[in-house]
Amino acid sequence: MIKNLTIRYFALFRENAGTGEEIVSLDAETAADVFALLKDRHGSEEPTGHCKVAINDVMADWDHPVADGDTVLLFPPVAGG
């Protein structure tokens, strides 16, 4: 089912996508589906290392379902400290 999602990109993903936020329509069931369908935007084949995802400002697992209207935040591998 096609869902309208707001995608937010950070750090390297934002630089690759050329924007920090965009609205997309995707046939995606999970956060992992979103990541895979947008690989040409954020530039990563798979969420390796410390890549993380949040849905509507809550950290989520990659198999978390996405719903129409969700905001999905895609975080490249984190590197604090």
């Binding site: 750090a11 390297l12 990563s44 084949e45 935040l73």
Partner: protein, 151 residues
């Protein structure tokens, strides 16, 4: 847990942890160093998604307090452009005795590095730059990062 674009002043932050029951205070400061994996580093650029960095940082701190039974713990992380020698992150822990304070401090900095949505971009002396830890996730773009995390 605080994210700030202002310089970190550990001496001031320490005062918030003063407690008559505390017999020990342990702190950690992460500093910007001038070399990483053979690259001469000019400066570092930190970016955080503040709402979730604060939320997740508080979870880490609460975990440390519960797990090691320390009295109190705090963490402050810088964002923005940082020069060599500047403090990027500070962790402070007060407790009854030193052993649990050391352990809690170590736990907090280790977890913060892998759990909080914070990123750092190294700017090298040779003009290149790269996002730390992103060497394997870029398939396009002008990415030169091939260095692992620093301390």
């Amino acid at each position: 847990m605080k994210i700030t674009s202002e310089p970190i002043s550990p001496d001031t932050l320490r005062d918030d942890l003063l407690n008559p029951s505390a017999g020990a205070y342990v702190s950690f400061e992460g500093w910007i160093r001038n070399v990483n994996e053979g690259h001469d580093v000019l400066r570092l650029e930190y970016e955080a998604y503040e709402p979730l960095a604060v939320t997740e940082g508080l979870v880490v701190i609460e975990e440390a307090i519960a797990r090691f039974s320390v009295l109190n713990a705090r963490c402050v992380h810088r964002v923005g452009l940082l020069e060599i020698g500047e403090c990027a992150v500070w962790v402070g822990v007060s407790s009854g005795h030193r052993d649990e304070a050391f352990k809690a401090c170590r736990y907090i900095i280790d977890e913060i590095k892998v759990r909080l949505p914070i990123w750092k971009k190294e700017h090298y002396v040779d003009g290149n730059s790269g996002w730390v830890n992103c060497e394997r996730c870029a398939t396009h773009g002008h990415h030169h990062g091939d260095s692992p995390a620093g301390d």
